[in-house]
């Protein structure tokens, strides 16, 4: 009758990460599986791909789908499937580092601005709003134009542009989190010790905002490949012959009637990455929401 008294019935406690994973929603697992496949392809790409990055004459140009060329062959006779695989790490690295930089800059600006408050916060917020009001593609093109021709086509520029687009949006989220956390008494205690804004932000506020920022990172990372692809498509991102997916779609778009798979192939790769990242983010957000400390009844 007494359940808790019978030791045989009580399950041994699983290690904490396994318990957390068991509670994760399905979307988290599916998203994680897709991302693992993408990561594996990115790392093992050169060994997996049947042909080289710019190897020409692999088949009859524009011959369409076949077992030898699942994504077809482009005008120059390059195997699109191999190029998609070779490009995988480029897309992933650009997306993650651009997002990472954007979240880092945005967090610092947002957390400090939210904690300090007052007129400083007001000015910072108006500036951020001004930047956010510019559509992100226009903002990205403005930044690329301003950077000048020396940097054009460099991966660093793409990373900086992604960061520039995301930082203000992340900053607003971070600020909202900081304002909520700053009202708690432990922040007041730190102020009473005479600690400066930087120290309070780093020690007291950032650890408590980390779950918000983590979700923010994952969410933004999910859209970054699209942004990078758009830039590539418009010819403002990476330069040919880089096997960046958006750029490949742009290169082959004239041929879309003759051999649609050359455009759809890279598009599928991009779409699966974005879907994977979004499912993962959605699951992560719900997981964090559920594992947050609950009130004791």
């Amino acid at each position: 009758m007494t359940l808790s008294a019978a030791p045989g019935l009580t399950q041994a406690r699983l290690p904490s990460w396994r318990r957390i994973l068991r509670r994760a929603p399905v979307s988290f697992h599916i998203g994680a599986a897709i991302l693992i496949v993408h990561a594996a392809v990115a790392v093992l790409g050169p060994w997996l791909a049947p042909y080289g990055i710019s190897q020409m004459g692999t088949g009859i140009p524009l011959s369409g789908m076949s077992w030898a060329h699942p994504f077809g062959v482009d005008q120059l006779g390059r195997d699109i499937f191999s190029r998609v695989i070779h490009g995988s790490h480029i897309v992933l690295l650009l997306a993650l580092s651009g997002t990472g930089l954007g979240v880092a800059i945005g967090s610092v600006i947002g957390l400090l601005s939210g904690y300090v408050g007052g007129w400083i916060d007001n000015i910072v917020q108006r500036l951020l709003e001004a930047v956010i009001s510019i559509p992100f593609l226009v903002l990205a093109l403005l930044a690329i134009a301003a950077a000048g021709p020396q940097l054009a086509g460099s991966p660093l520029l793409v990373v900086l542009v992604v960061a520039l687009v995301y930082a203000p949006r992340v900053a607003r989220m971070a600020r909202a989190a900081a304002i909520e956390i700053a009202t708690r008494d432990f922040v007041t205690v730190a102020r009473l010790r005479g600690e400066g804004a930087w120290s309070v932000m780093r020690r007291e506020i950032l650890p408590n905002a980390s779950s918000v920022l983590l979700v923010e990172f994952a969410l933004r990372a999910g859209y970054a490949p699209v942004l990078i692809g758009s830039l590539g498509f418009l010819g403002f991102g990476m330069r040919p012959p880089t096997p960046e997916w958006g750029l490949m779609m742009a290169e082959n778009r004239a041929l879309i009637i003759i051999s649609p798979i050359t455009v759809i192939g890279p598009g599928l790769a991009l779409a699966s990455l974005v879907v994977g990242l979004n499912l993962f983010t959605d699951g992560l957000a719900r997981l964090i929401g559920r594992t947050a400390p609950r009130n004791q009844a």
């Binding site: 007494t2 359940l3 406690r13 008494d185 432990f186 205690v189 102020r191 010790r193 650890p207 980390s210």
Partner: protein, 693 residues
Amino acid sequence: MSAALGPKLVEVSDLSLAYLHEDRPLQVLFGVTFSIAPGEVLGLVGESGCGKSTVAYQLLGYRPPSARVLSGSVRLSGVDLLTLSRAELDRLRGNRIALIPQNPASALSPGMRVGRQVAEVLTAHRRASGGSAPKARAAELFEAVGLPEPRRIGRRYPHELSGGQQQRVAIAMALACGPDLLVLDEPTTGLDVTTQQQIVALLAELRRRKRMAMLYVTHDLGLLAQIADRVGVMYAGRMVEVAPTGILFSQPRHPYTRGLIASIPQIRPGERLGKRLRGLLQRDELPPGCPFQPRCDFAEAACAAELQVLEEAAPGHEVACRRWRALAPPAAVPATLRAEPTEAAPLTPLLALDSLVVTYRAAGSVFAKPVAAVRGVTLAIERGETLALVGESGSGKSTVARAISGLLRPSAGQIRFGGEPLAGLLRHRPRELRRIIQYVFQNPDASLNPRMRVGSILARPLEVFFDAAGADLRGRIARALDDVRLDESYAERYPDQLSGGERQRVAIARAVVAKPALLLCDEVLSALDVSVQANILDLLKRLRAEHHLSMLFISHDLAVVREIADRIAVLFRGELCQVGPSRVVFQAPMHPYTHALLMAAPSGPAAIARPVEAGEPGPLRPASGQGCPYAGRCAWQAGAICEREPPPWLEAGNGNRIRCHLSLSELEARALWRAEPRQVEGAIRPAEGRATP
């Protein structure tokens, strides 16, 4: 007692229930059995986590999805609620059984006018239908629960009402269908003392008029003395003692009940009855026998092995303790005035407030008139002295502490520390001054960073104030933990792995490691359980002695203040009413507001018979800064002069100063409160006896 005989309205028998907690069943109720007769009030008391709320929700047929009933039944007029379908329960709930929740702010829908919320209950149970009938009935209910302007208040949204008014709306909602049984889950816990007293008076009056049965769940035993016919004491999911209220207080049989009663802070001077509770309920380490055995002062080895069941100690008095015969009921301790050291000759006070004024500007508007939260407060704290600041919520107590700490800048007046003026803003104060004044907050959940280990939390002040590092730092952290009687291993834990009392200990340790001269304690006990409160109070007293601390102790609880303070200052709406040594403040003559506070405080067995206004206090006068702040709410008001002229300070002797227009002799004549302690039993009246005029 009508309770013992006659048909029962509610019969709970052998109820056992478990929660599935992280895939592991955790049993929270063990064979709980009790009954409630029609029109009877049963109080259910125990520390948090004892299962009392779980029992209460079973009477509503409510179980969270993770709960599993292992055995037993819950019968309402013979029908087992545990077997009813959802639809059948829906017909009962709100109709024959109603709940008054702990927090009305979250129980009322924020986007719906309160009148409609009450009308909704009526239409749902088809007690009133059509156009204006439900609204008219709602207005009647609002009148019955003493809300002002019952016809108009229904148009308000919950956030436009005060906490007390919200609870009255929740009560009106519960009463709407004239239920047979009211389940009250800590209905006054979130309210301040005066409001709490009004709500309890209202409940007692409603019960007399409507003859409803009630299950009153609370951790506050003192409150039950005023309303319950019988009290059931729960511990670790078991009922350990059930007795009529008067008997329970005068002859508690179970050691746990005795500990609970002894843990009630006493306003009246005198020794406590017996010893307080020690230790904490540790669910993981319960012996197979009596769950209270590890904390029991009377335990024998056999107690741990043998399961205790309720047996009748006297008619209507059941106790689950195998040793109850061996334990003589504690004798009523003759109450004597505590010997207090005579005050030393005044030196330079450690801290002096001189006509302190703090104003807030209403947020969001540059043109809003600043509101004075504290007006003209002049106070001093001597070295080694504990000064208590007492008043209801919103009286400006915390504002004073915040101004001293530098969080708020005074708009006028001066704060002097050790004779030197203190800079208004924190950033203008040198490190030494920031160290020497330390602040302990009300709620340790909020004042400890949940993402920091206890060790890091304690390390910060040591690093900032003493530049401590390495082995020196670790040694100091260990000593700090030892100082508040926590094990060294706690340094590795996160705050959410600690109990509420342990968290408050860490918060206190963090303040004390800075080696302060002045400790500002802002309601440090009010978020804690009664038994934990007693422990923390003892801890503060010991630290005060060991570290030669002066304290500003802010509280709304006069009983706690009586225990720790050397002097008491009473604050009302930002102005001082009375200042004096604590043993004198509780004697006549006293300020009318101090008197009202004392009369409103639930002080357990010593609660005295008195008529209490069940109505909501009248609207507060706009604080014009003229006249007496208490004018308009004062029962002893002298006349128009109270509203026109600020009252003078009267010297009542022994350092007792009162600010009132009435003369000392008039004040003395009006006070109903008497400092002479009565015999404890003599003070207990059964709730019914009091209810009849």
